[in-house]
């Protein structure tokens, strides 16, 4: 019973190992279960012993990848200025997306098929961003004090550039590195409290 379980887990690992490479190379749609079965050296049915369906399998790959992002973010060297800390994290998020385009694509660019009722499973990475936002709000440098509002503004902003750089490689981008920096600078500076005039409505 125990040994059987071990073997089951080994089989699962073997499939995931092979799946990882195929997924990285091909992306969600090109990546096929039958092809994977061939690569693993088993029949298509076997994969369904270990995973409910293609979506569940790919979700496992994605979770692994995003755990790594979370680790990367936590491993970031602390900055004295909370605003600098935030900038570094935003940059790391974008870099991660660009280094794992297929993972990022599946996680954030595909409409997930689960019905409206099912609760949203938060990414640890987003929680990290939210915590950093909190620090920045607590240091009272921001124009707003709604943690969720601010972190969602930041997330959507960095998601925008990450996803467009992935999906539109042929667009005549200005220097991408500068663009990313400028976007981050713009977002942070736009959220900062300004001494000079502001506010209407």
């Amino acid at each position: 019973m125990n040994l059987r379980n071990e073997k089951h887990k080994l089989g699962r690992q073997l499939i995931l190992h092979e799946a990882r490479q195929l997924f990285i190379a091909l992306g969600y749609h090109q990546f096929s279960m039958r092809q994977l079965a061939k690569a693993v050296g088993c029949s298509p049915g076997t994969i369904y012993v270990h995973f409910k369906d293609k979506n569940e399998l790919v979700n496992c790959l994605i979770e692994d990848a995003f755990d790594k992002l979370s680790e990367t973010l936590h491993a970031l060297e602390p900055q004295d200025d909370p605003s600098d800390q935030l900038k570094h994290a935003l940059r790391a998020y974008i870099d991660f997306g660009l280094e794992h385009p297929n993972h990022y694509h599946f996680a954030f660019l595909m409409k997930d098929p689960r019905p409206a009722g099912t609760p949203y499973a938060p990414h640890a990475a987003f929680d990290f961003l939210r915590d950093l936002t909190k620090s920045n709000i607590q240091s009272k440098r921001l124009r707003l004090n709604d943690i969720d509002m601010v972190s969602q503004v930041l997330w959507t902003a960095i998601h925008g550039i990450t996803s467009l750089l992935i999906t539109k490689p042929r667009f005549p981008w200005v220097n991408k590195d500068q663009l990313i920096n400028e976007l981050i600078e713009t977002a942070i500076s736009g959220l900062n409290r300004e001494e000079s005039a502001q506010e209407k409505t």
Copy 2:
């Protein structure tokens, strides 16, 4: 010969008409050529007389939709303040995306399959945004004077929120309307020249 051409065009229109509804209802992947053929009342092969493949057909639908966006943008009532004008346009862009999620998804969330060599076909809507950016730069209120840099920062920012609101309806968003406004406000204000301290590096 003339009449034949007319009939050809009619057939094309008929297919596009039926395709439009299916595509809006189902999105790119659910939408199938065979299903479309059934709806039109012809055989699958006939559709390939009018369109090279599924991609080309859907591209026609998308172009129609984005022409409408371009019209909407041009029809926007002019504002005295170029910055307000820009804000209105950004808002209209986002609203358009949210009203046509499947079109938006196909246009900006799917990696287009054409090889790296093929030139990028610019959307008229993006040109419009670029022109507005130009006006804003000319009024010397912005921190930067690179039109492309600024317009790309703005585009990626509004794309971020548009796409995430489409793909992550289950995310615990704050009030969406406020979020959109706050993002636009943040982006514009972050690009504005500040009297107070700035710059490092």
